[in-house]
């Protein structure tokens, strides 16, 4: 299943977790719980020591995952071992991709993208790789037949938007607000604005909105504003963090994750009904 087609008639629910947070084992169970919870695409973070695009919640997750021993090779193993149906997107920073060396000592994007594709990854989001620097990564993804998802920010002007859409595949990651990842308590007014601007471009790419979505209600409003999907990270990671702190059993945490996933998914569906009542 290709990424684009994971966005079907219904709005997509795209959860994020950091692989290996707070341990390899628990993390596996959590990703699988999201799958059960109705995820349409899962963004699985490969932790990098300098996550400049992340807020405190995901930074902490990255620290936990690194401490649990997560590395790029182990990440690939982790993906291979996962028992999920949902397409997986690898979210990481460019240096890890750039440094990667495979067994035959092939290095860089080409090596990593192929290894990841082999393991089952279907796309990439690389927050510190703007269109200006994306050529090698784009080429590797094309070669491996996987997607490279671009991020569109509220600050992205029309000229940039055009270039961005031209190289993005799978979906477009619409950053809902300024700043870094992190669950906020409101919905940014700029999301609707960005979505409206995107509608003026001739693209078939689904538009998934992330940054600051934490409840079913948020999801509903975002989809109501025209999004094709909602990306939710920090709100889920919060559950993982609390579980790690209180040493809650993995199963219980997984169940909470699945619950929130269901709420978010339901919210998204709700939102779609508001815009396109005729379709139901």
């Amino acid at each position: 299943m290709s990424l684009e087609s994971a966005f079907g008639d219904d709005p997509a629910f795209v959860p994020y977790l950091a692989a290996g947070d707070p341990s390899i084992e628990a993390s596996k169970a959590y990703v699988e719980a999201l799958d059960r919870g109705g995820a349409d695409v899962i963004e699985l973070g490969l932790p990098f020591s300098e996550p400049i695009a992340e807020g405190p919640t995901i930074q902490a997750a990255v620290v936990r995952a690194l401490q649990a021993g997560m590395t790029p090779p182990r990440y690939l193993e982790f993906v291979r071992d996962l028992n999920v149906e949902t397409p997986l997107v690898c979210m990481t920073y460019y240096n890890l991709i750039y440094q990667y060396r495979d067994e035959s000592d092939r290095g860089g994007p080409d090596a990593f993208v192929h290894a990841a594709a082999d393991a089952g990854v279907e796309g990439f989001v690389v927050p510190d790789l703007p269109v200006e620097e994306a050529d090698p990564m784009r080429a590797a993804c094309d070669d491996a037949g996987v997607d490279l998802v671009s991020i569109v920010a509220p600050t992205t002007g029309d000229d940039r938007l055009e270039r961005l859409l031209a190289i993005s595949s799978g979906y477009v990651y619409v950053q809902a607000r300024l700043g870094v990842t992190g669950a906020k308590d409101d919905v940014s007014g700029r999301t609707a604005e960005t979505l409206a601007r995107l509608r003026e471009y001739d693209t078939t790419l689904p538009k998934a909105v992330g940054f600051g979505i934490r409840t079913g209600d948020h999801a509903e409003r975002i989809v109501g504003a025209g999004a094709d999907g909602v990306i939710v990270g920090s709100a889920l990671v919060d559950i993982v963090a609390k579980g790690a702190e209180t040493e809650k059993p993995t199963d219980a945490v997984a169940e909470q994750l699945a619950d929130l996933a269901r709420e978010l998914k339901a919210g998204a569906l709700q939102g779609r009904m508001a815009v396109e009542p005729e379709r139901k």
Partner: protein, 421 residues
């Protein structure tokens, strides 16, 4: 290309290094900044450079002198000249860049300044420039650095800046830069990020170098007027590399002049595999090609590409990366990367203090650690950039000198008995 006449910001690449590896949300700001850099800085639009030059003179104290170090010259049988950036307002070369960027932010219509700081020198310079130009300013600083550079924390507060402690990781410059980028990602529309060295995404490495190039332009001319001709070697300590690039820039085309970037060797080279820590900050000497904080350059990383914690007795050199242009100049052989360890730097600190009457920053002291061991290979006439003064380091020097047994140091017991500073 000649290094002396630039009219374009270029493409931000230095060989393979450089670039703009930042979140999309920041890209428009970098485009805007590149445009402003070309117009105001490179083309003096609206008289920007005239105003900057005047303020650097009247507020900053430029030109800084070039003076002969009589006793070191005798000691090494080599003519040693000191370029005195320690006399710049704020006590380090940092103001050249900070004032330039804050003024540029004003020309760009920005309303707020953020900055990161390691030693606190860039933070204080930025806070001073912001006070001077009436711009609100927030500075991110690692908790470890806050502890070892307290006077600078206080100075920033006095200048009206907020100081935001960064507690992630080891709490040094690397984490402070990451955190400032996060602030900027949130506030980019009305805020300018005054980066403190020739690092980060394009146009920062070029622009910061350009603001600091005044150091070498002055030094080159002063040397010619006071001594005649060109020096044989030019030395500067290198952390991120701003004073290094500033000190080298005007000499880059002078093939007869050897250029030495002196890094912090810390307590040893290489990376400790067990702890994942580099007990040094020698990214030019021991780092490898990678991407950090928006640029491809030489960095300290583990085989997977995770950035390792660096170390140096001097907070201002304690950084896992280095400017991309400097990395390129090392690869092409134009600049020699060298390093000295913490103890040699401390000895250099004491030597300059008690033989020349100049108390250098611990960062600067590395260059004097290097010349002590290598003066025979440097030719007859050497210029060393005194990138900053050591007032901010007194506490560290008391502690480290007492615990490391530095031969040429005054007795530290007195101060320990006084209960420190």
């Amino acid at each position: 290309m000649s290094f002396k006449t630039r009219r374009s910001a270029g493409d931000g690449k230095f060989g393979e290094y450089g670039g703009q590896y930042v979140p999309e949300v920041l890209m428009p700001a970098l485009e805007e900044l590149t445009d402003a850099y070309e117009r105001y800085v490179l083309s003096n639009e609206d008289g920007f450079m005239d105003e900057l030059r005047e303020r650097l003179r009247d507020f900053g104290g430029r030109p800084t002198p070039l003076g002969r170090a009589d006793r070191l010259s005798e000691r090494y049988d080599t003519e040693v000249y000191l370029k005195r950036e320690d006399l710049l307002h704020g006590g380090a070369h940092k103001l050249n860049n900070a004032l330039g960027q804050v003024l540029l932010a004003k020309y760009m219509g920005k309303e707020r300044i953020v900055a990161e700081t390691g030693a606190g020198q860039h933070g204080t310079a930025t806070a001073m420039a912001a006070a001077h130009l009436d711009m609100p300013c927030e500075v991110y600083m690692g908790r470890t650095d806050i502890n070892r550079q307290r006077p600078n924390v206080f100075r920033m507060r006095l200048n009206g800046a907020e100081v935001n402690p960064v507690t992630v990781g080891r709490g040094t410059l690397k984490e402070a830069i990451s955190e400032t980028m996060r602030d900027w990602a949130m506030t980019v529309e009305n805020t300018h990020y005054v980066i403190g060295s020739v690092v980060g995404p394009h146009p920062f490495p070029s622009m910061v170098r350009e603001f600091h190039a005044v150091i070498s332009r002055e030094a080159r001319q002063q040397f010619d007027e006071q001594v005649g001709g060109l020096p044989d070697a030019v030395l500067a300590c290198a952390g991120g590399g701003s004073n290094t690039m500033g000190t080298f820039d005007a000499f880059l085309d002078d093939d007869s002049v050897s250029l030495y970037a002196v890094e912090a060797g810390g307590s040893g080279l290489g990376v400790n595999d067990e702890t994942g820590v580099a007990p040094n900050s020698a990214s030019l000497s021991t780092g490898t090609d990678g991407v950090l904080h928006g640029a491809r350059t030489k960095i300290l990383q583990d085989p997977d590409g995770q950035i390792v914690e660096s170390h140096s007795v001097s907070a201002g050199l304690d950084y896992a990366g280095v400017g991309p242009q400097l990395a390129h100049l090392v690869d092409t052989g134009r600049v020699s990367p060298v390093n000295v360890d913490d103890n040699a730097a401390l000895a250099g600190f004491h030597r300059l203090s008690n033989t020349e009457g100049v108390i250098p920053a611990l960062e600067t002291a590395h260059a004097f650690g290097f010349i002590e061991e290598n003066h025979e290979d440097l030719g007859d006439r050497v210029v060393v950039n005194v990138s900053g003064r050591g007032d901010k380091d007194l506490e560290t020097v008391i502690e480290e000198t007492a615990s490391h047994d530095i031969e040429n140091a005054p007795d530290m017991d007195v101060f320990e008995r006084m209960g420190g500073l």
